[in-house]
């Protein structure tokens, strides 16, 4: 193992970790506030990338407009899923809502991915976000797009943390996350807050999808792996933690995943990541219990 190799893998870990931070912050917000296991995050991720790519490459729209349309599509889809699917299900299934929402979310994702394939075929697409140029520093290399990913991911994660800490909507979200009953008593509408949470989370997810599309390619199944990592990061960071804390967990996961390549074959990096989650859950089962308790406590707000 050479120093150069360690440097390169650390840099790759920071880039991937920043991306996981953004994903984890968006996913963790929904999980922490609404208690919904929003697996369809994968579909929102994919849909944003597809809309941006199709508008940019087929309709020759300016990249900024295409991105805006992609984010808007993500927002609409995320909010529609909450409003039309999750909320009625939460009303209908009571204490079992965690499971029913997860299953419905899985179904929406599978159906959505197939519809995307039908509409735009399974062929890979691209997004030209910025001109991608390689940058070399000593023995390590990265691209201009990698720099954008790091800067944008952390800017959005920090902005979300600040908004939740100091903004009016942020305070309302924190109130609904803390105790939906009490939030209603003081005149807040948890259902409306949940919609806002889905809107914010979907935009973050859309940004991540478009970045992923620009970095690799836009494909129907592109959202599946990231949503799993988002889940790991959100759980590791804590479902009720500030986004920046979740982001740091994402950074940690990125570094573990990347640096594991020094000791094991890269094909086993996902195994290393899930081992970390497993060990964490064994050592800190309180997090799991706290999430379950919160998921159940969030129900009456929807039922009322």
């Amino acid at each position: 193992v050479s120093i150069e190799q360690i440097e390169q893998l650390t840099l790759a870990g920071i880039i991937n970790g920043s991306f996981y931070a953004l994903l984890g912050a968006g996913f963790g917000l929904v999980l922490g506030v609404t208690g919904r296991f929003h697996y369809a995050f994968a579909l929102v991720f994919t849909f944003a990338a597809y809309v941006a790519s199709v508008l940019e490459t087929e309709f020759h729209l300016a990249v900024g407009l295409a991105i805006f349309a992609g984010l808007l599509a993500a927002l609409v889809l995320g909010v529609a899923i909450e409003h039309l699917v999750y909320r009625p299900l939460a009303h209908a299934s009571g204490a079992l809502s965690l499971l029913t929402i997860f299953i419905s979310s899985l179904g929406i994702t599978i159906a959505g991915i197939n519809l995307i394939t039908l509409a735009w075929t399974a062929f890979s697409r691209t997004i030209q976000l910025i001109p991608v140029q390689p940058l070399h520093f000593g023995g390590v290399s990265l691209t201009t797009l990698d720099v954008l990913i790091v800067v944008l991911s952390w800017s959005l994660t920090i902005a979300l943390t600040a908004a939740l800490r100091f903004g009016d909507l942020g305070r309302a979200i924190r109130a609904a996350r803390g105790n939906p009953y009490l939030a209603r008593v003081i005149g807040l509408d948890p259902d409306a807050i949940y919609l806002s949470v889905f809107a914010i989370s979907s935009v973050l997810c859309g940004v991540a999808g478009i970045l992923e599309g620009a970095r690799y390619a836009v494909q129907p199944n592109m959202g599946i792996r990231p949503v799993v990592f988002a889940f790991v990061v959100a759980f590791l960071g804590g479902t009720r933690s500030a986004p920046v804390v979740v982001g740091l967990a994402g950074l940690f996961i990125g570094l573990v995943e990347s640096l594991s390549g020094l000791f094991v074959s890269p094909q086993w990096s996902s195994l290393v990541v899930f081992s970390v989650l497993f060990i964490y859950l064994v050592l800190r089962p309180l997090e799991l219990r706290a999430f379950r308790a919160h998921a159940l406590s969030a129900l009456p707000s929807a039922e009322s």
């Binding site: 062929f123 890979s124 691209t143 199944n221 890269p266 094909q267």
Partner: protein
Amino acid sequence: LITLRRSRKADFLGKKSGQLRAKGGAKMGHNRNIFSAKKFNGRRRLGPLACLSSGALCTALACGAVFAQGTSLSGAGGATGAQIKEVLGLDGRDAKSLGAGMHFKLGIVLALTGPGSYYGRIQGNGAKLGIAQIKAAGGPDIELVFKDHKSADAQAGARAARELGIEGISAVLTSYVGVIGAMFPGLAQYKMLALDGGGGTSDFGQGKPYFWGMRAIEPDDDFIGALKYWKATDPKIKRVSLVYIDQGPANEIVINNFNKALNATDLQLASGEVTAIGATDYTATISRLKAANADAVFLFTIGVDTGYFMKQFANAGLTMPVIGAENVPDAAKVAGRAYDNYMFATDWFDSKKPINPWSKLFLKSYVKEFNLEPEIYAANYYEDAFAMWDLIRRVLSKGGNVNSGEELQNVLMTNPKFQSVYGGSATEVGTIELDTTTHTVTKRSLGVYKYNNGEPIEVATFGIGGIDFKLTK
């Protein structure tokens, strides 16, 4: 509430029926005018009728001309039966021996969903064109029974084999090497003859009952051609790294065969890097390649993964030559300009350089049918459909039962040779030959190709085992 609703309904109906009556009265009052209009319209319709009659006459004449040459069925890409029979040397055969009027169910197990659906679509195109042309040439009416293996889902593969077996299907075109081996027990149990034109037999499917590989083994058969090419063109290359996808127990066979090819060409192994199928991030692999300080890289990744690798390889500033075992246009799209450094060695169907009369006919009809240039997977499933027809004809000539996978395999064992769109010459179609013990190809045309401005250009040709290696001028 019910009473209220009923009364409202009655009101609504009353109004509606009144309106209808009023309309009916109005119509009655204008009957004469309507009749006159009909007469007038009848005269006006004479014109189109005359046009239709003339059109029908012209169509009949045109059809007469077409029938004189042979029919082209829809889906055959404009190729006529006469053309197909001429190319394949089937002129003068009687209809019965060709299987005319017979209905034959052929299973086809492809990646219709999931990340490999690119392959499924292209392979399906090839097979569909094949069966349409077989019918046009007076062959049986082959019905393709599609099954989805969801891009190498072993359970889906095993289920597909079981379902096809229960349906009594005797022959099947498989992919992903019998969906990574999961179909093998089903094929043996139901005695279904399987031809795999997607991955051949690979290392783990050799000699399996009823399972036959219809292409060169990827990547093993490609190694020697790539290494000979480097040996002939770049004497500085001494140490070569191998990057290959994880195939479980077959990994050892792959690395052993690579070592054998290195020994045969007097080169050395720099490192062997295993990657996961469907990986997108190759940072760790590329970092290991840098550390290994290889002079060249042989890359065995599949599908669009190759595009991801090449993109990141170029961004990492690596410039050493890379020869891969596979090429798909989708990977080229993903990699963009980074693909211009990519070369590949395989049994590629070169649509820019169709060699034999059959490959020319296939190319023309495929482009016409799908508005897309064919590549290896389309060509393989096209010729595999014809290989099945060849077996059907052989069984029929012996008076046997074509719905028996055992009889189909017996005639294959007797003469393991088929016509091919690969190889051959300007006047003769190519051939593909199989080994009756390993069930893999022993004769197949392969080549080394280099990407240039988005198009693969042939730079060398070779056969199985590296025989007849020749640099293309």
